[in-house]
């Protein structure tokens, strides 16, 4: 399980970084989204992975998942979503104002 999650985070981060290095706004945006997925997954498992257990806690339960990373990841998702929405609007605005979708503005 740990290996699977670790590989997933690695693949997401790798693809995110690759896309962020593109020069057009849309791939950069997708890259940032993938990176934020990787971050969310990473935050989620930072409280260790507990398999086949109650989501928070239950009577007589010995091992239960840490609730704090779940709260953190919720906050991070909300913030990341808002930021991505802002970036989408900004990218569209940049196409209109500078006449292209190059990250430095204009058509290059």
């Amino acid at each position: 399980m740990e290996a699977l999650v670790a590989i997933a985070i690695g693949v997401l981060t790798g693809s995110g970084v690759y896309l962020m290095l593109r020069a057009r706004t849309f791939p950069v945006l997708l890259g940032l989204t993938l990176l934020s997925y990787a971050v969310n997954l990473f935050l989620f498992v930072s409280g260790r992975i507990v398999v086949a257990s109650a989501p928070l806690t239950d009577k007589g339960l010995e091992t239960y998942p840490d609730p704090i990373p779940q709260a953190l990841v919720l906050t991070a998702i909300v913030i990341g979503f808002g930021m991505t929405a802002l970036l989408v609007v900004l990218a569209l605005r940049a196409i209109r104002d500078t006449g292209g979708d190059h990250v430095d503005g204009g058509e290059r």
Binding site: V39, G47, L72, L90, R93
Partner: protein, 511 residues
Amino acid sequence: MHLVILPVLLPLVAGSLLLLTAGLGDAARRAIGLAATLALLPLAVLLLDRVADGTHLVYALGDWAPPFGIVLVADRLAAVMLLLTAIVALASLVYAGAGDDTRGPQYHALFQFQLLGINGAFLTGDLFNLFVFFEVLLIASYALLLHGLGAQRVGAAMHVVVLNLIGSALFLFAVGTLYGVTGTLNLADLARVMPLLGPDTAPLARSGALLLLGVFALKAALLPLGFWLPRAYAAATGATAALFAVLTKVGVYAILRVYPLVFGPGAGEVANVAAAWVLPVALVTLAFGALGVLASRTLRTSAGWMVVYSVGTLLVAVGLFSEAGYAAAVYYTAHSTLASAALFLVSDLIARQRVVGGDRFEVVDSMPHGTVLGTLFFVTAVTIAGLPPLSGFVGKLLVLQAASAAPGAVVIWSVLLVAALVVIVAVARAGSALFWRTAAEAPGAPAPALDGRSVGAIAGLLACVVGLVAWGGAATSYAWSTARQLADPSGYVAAVLGSDASVHERRRSLR
């Protein structure tokens, strides 16, 4: 009792009110914004007075006992940063009142949310909460940066937003790593747990700490992560850029808050983790910033590079990680925040007054209102270039003094002094190009009249700079007591967590 949370609540309420009262006229909304910003000033002074004797005011949100709940902590450093923010915010809002604030929608609401984020970041005692307040201030800053729009502004904002989103992702990676290792995000609790880490988990904590340093360096615009700053700040409206002078200091504040406290000399395996990095990077930033100032062709770009230069100087002081270094950093922060804000306002005013030339260093037309603008520019230039008798000189002297005891003092001194000379040359050239080498013919279009609010805002900031020298004894002694508090984090930890035994008791009862 609830004093600590008021600097966060007040802008939140005022900002929400301004969002709801969109139907009111410009004058009324301006008044609400100004009143809320003005009220921050006595609040900050009151807080400063309460913490001046060395107490830490701890406020547990929702009364959840630390380390489980989020705490706000006001100490000397936080209080002085709040005061600086209040002063700069007031000046920049008065300046914006001269007409900038009506160039786009919701300027005043965004301004208040920006203050909410900044004040929150200064007060919080929780690493994740620091992230949240960073995001609040960033999203407001994006909108303020875009205020008034224009292709240049949109292009600059794109870079800022993308870079800061990457920064946020790294911040979360760092937070996750530190939480995974220590099981806590409360700064005081982190400081308590760090020395207990064994050699198996310490490397993880170290990588988390360095990742975090990278994020703070991005916010503070340290090289090589600072190239976005001059372009973005030059593109923003003057009032916004002046407020942004505080934003870079948030990054510096975060370094000053987290590293001495959590990764200080007493942190066992991860002690002094940032010490090897901050100083060299700061020296490079400083040198590069000075070159940037020299190479600028407009006053606003040069003001942007001046921020990079002053952040470099500031982090040289921080990077010494000594009591003298912290003291110099606190004084220099006050000086550089006020002086950079004044410089941004002056350059904006000059750009507006020179109808043809704008703020370009070109001989095109004469400078209207030469006496007033010349005086404002001269005082700002003397301050920012670090010439006696104003606060830049005192600040630089403190940094040099702190560096003299450090290993490699020769290198630090040479870089600081040569860079200072370069900046003096650049500022002198800017002044003479703008004010002395003027064309003989009168300009085609008459210059706009000077607005009393614009001049007043700049004069107010400069008065504070003069005050930093006039009451220099009080200012430096406050800086030293702040430094003592930073160098000995045990007071902070004890104030937040209480005695060690009670924490363990609370932990056990929760398990």
